[in-house]
Amino acid sequence: MFASCADPSSLEGLGWLMCYLTSGKHMLFYSSIGIVLLLLLITAPIALAFGFGGAVAARSHFLPLRWFGKAYTSMVRGVPDIIFFLFVPIAMDQGFEWLRHKVKCSDWDQPVWQGNDFVVCPAAKLPLSTSPQWIHETYGFFLAVLAFSIVFGAFAANVIHGAMNAVPRAQMETAEAYGMSHRQAFRRILVPQMWIYALPGLSNLWMILIKATPLLFLLGIRDIVYWARELGGSKTSHFDYPHPDWRLYYFLALLVFYLLMTSVSERVLRRITARLSHGQATLGGEQQRKAAR
């Protein structure tokens, strides 16, 4: 990075440390923080959409759809989420490949399951074995996002379903008295009012989501845990920057990173709660009304 870093073995003390911390691999380490933030930013809206869909399905008047919604909302209750994180990417990957296999290689006569192997025709492989490395990595990241979205969508569906039930019955009755149809009452009355009831649960979920991001490591993504282990491990004199086992310090840095993330989010969420309580028929809203007078 810097010109003075050309020959690391001649460096000492602070200069060495500065060159060490700006080496190419460390730049990858810092950019993997971006991967974590990217995962958070992509997963949160998708999970919210899944959760909204699940909650609406669980309230549906159409029986099979209601069953599906109920099953989805209760799926995460008794089973550790990490099982889903391990299961969903493999299952989805095989599902996609199997579908492509059916479409692209209809003349393939061998079974897909051969003993201990899952074999599809080369044209159905996802991603194709000829595609460059970054496509493989993006596909892995896509599967991870899907797993996170499905699991956190189920959590969010739980929260939103509860929030929809928490909107006072009188509000819906008033909407009916005004002659609104089910659909109108849902869109104009229920959905705008439920957010304040959903917010405590959703902000909790956001914290859980932040704390679940190191699990990316288990899905084979090169995230911050991967780089912390990789860079921290002891380096012999073959390397440019030899050092003993420093993984402890790297993980301490990760700990501080996550503590900062959670405490910053806590502050932001407290602001949003105050904003959303404004003018609502809840204790928080009532307090704001009295304070303003």
Binding site: V79, P80, L86, N116, F118, G201, K211, V225, F251, Y258
Partner: protein, 279 residues
């Protein structure tokens, strides 16, 4: 090989009794169920011990956090913030790296007349190291629950105790603590359930599985990586955990009924499962 033979050979495999080699080819459903079930021993071990010891520490930390003395309150607040604000996964890694750095031969503590050697190598093994992390982690989460409950003990209860001339320890033991437990119990049940779920992380977070003695998810991943078929192994673990969750709800529900037995039916608090405190 009949299923009964499999159970005899692999039923206690996770604690090192029975067949040494794991099955390698022609996996049967029976092998899945037996080996993963044997791995549940470790999940139960971590969960039960961490929950038991964590309960006492959580009570102490909750009281310290509610204390007026800043020398007690501040450390308790920091302890809770540290363990609730960071991912359990990172805590496992950090603890493992710390324990590994301890000298293998043990630490010598000179006492003047003699020197005692404290063995430290067992700390980097999963059975001790991971248990310590889980113990501290659940203590922090439960302490926050207990602290919240302590804050919401009705004022009238405490005033009534004062009127009876109770004070100090007897007031705490006979009035405040039972009410605190009663209020905290539904949330504490959730904490217990998610602690058991969190035990599946142990063998994925640095702690090595000595001689392939791992927990249920360790074996499930073993099967899934050998067969490339996630549709058998993972549902089997899931079933075990649903069963475990139901047992936990039954046990904690019985305690909840006992804590609430003096109240009229309508005002008893029910246990509702809320996925709010996963790590």
């Amino acid at each position: 090989m009949s299923c009964w033979d499999t159970v005899r050979e692999y039923g206690l495999r996770s604690i090192g009794i029975g067949e040494r080699l794991l099955p390698r080819t022609d996996f049967t459903l029976c092998e899945h169920v037996t080996l993963i079930g044997s791995g549940m021993i470790w999940n139960l071990y971590f969960g039960i011990l961490a929950l038991f010891f964590g309960f006492f520490l959580a009570n102490a930390v909750a009281l310290a956090k509610a204390s007026a003395n800043p020398w007690l309150r501040k450390p308790a607040e920091w302890f809770i913030y540290l363990f609730r604000g960071s991912p359990l996964f990172i805590q496992f890694f950090l603890a493992y790296e710390t324990f590994v750095l301890l000298p293998r031969a043990g630490i010598d503590i000179p006492l003047g007349f003699t020197t005692i050697t404290v063995a430290t190598s067992w700390l980097s093994k999963a059975w001790a190291g991971a248990l310590i992390v889980l113990f501290l982690n659940t203590a922090a989460y439960s302490a926050e629950i207990f602290y919240g409950a302590l804050r919401s003990v009705p004022k009238g209860d405490v005033e009534a105790a004062d009127a009876y001339g109770m004070s100090g320890w007897s007031r705490f033991r006979r009035i405040i603590w039972p009410t605190m437990m009663r209020l905290a119990w539904p949330a504490y049940t959730n904490e217990a359930i998610f602690l058991f779920h969190a035990t599946t992380l142990v063998y994925f977070s640095g702690f090595p599985a000595f001689q392939q003695r791992g927990d249920s998810l360790y074996y499930a991943t073993y099967f899934a990586s050998k067969t490339f078929n996630p549709f058998i192994a993972y549902p089997v673990v899931a079933c075990y955990f649903i069963l475990l969750t139901l047992i936990l709800i039954t046990l904690f529900g019985a305690v909840n009924r006992r804590l609430n037995r003096h109240l009229p039916q309508a005002s008893r608090s029910r246990i509702r499962l809320r996925p709010q405190i996963i790590r």
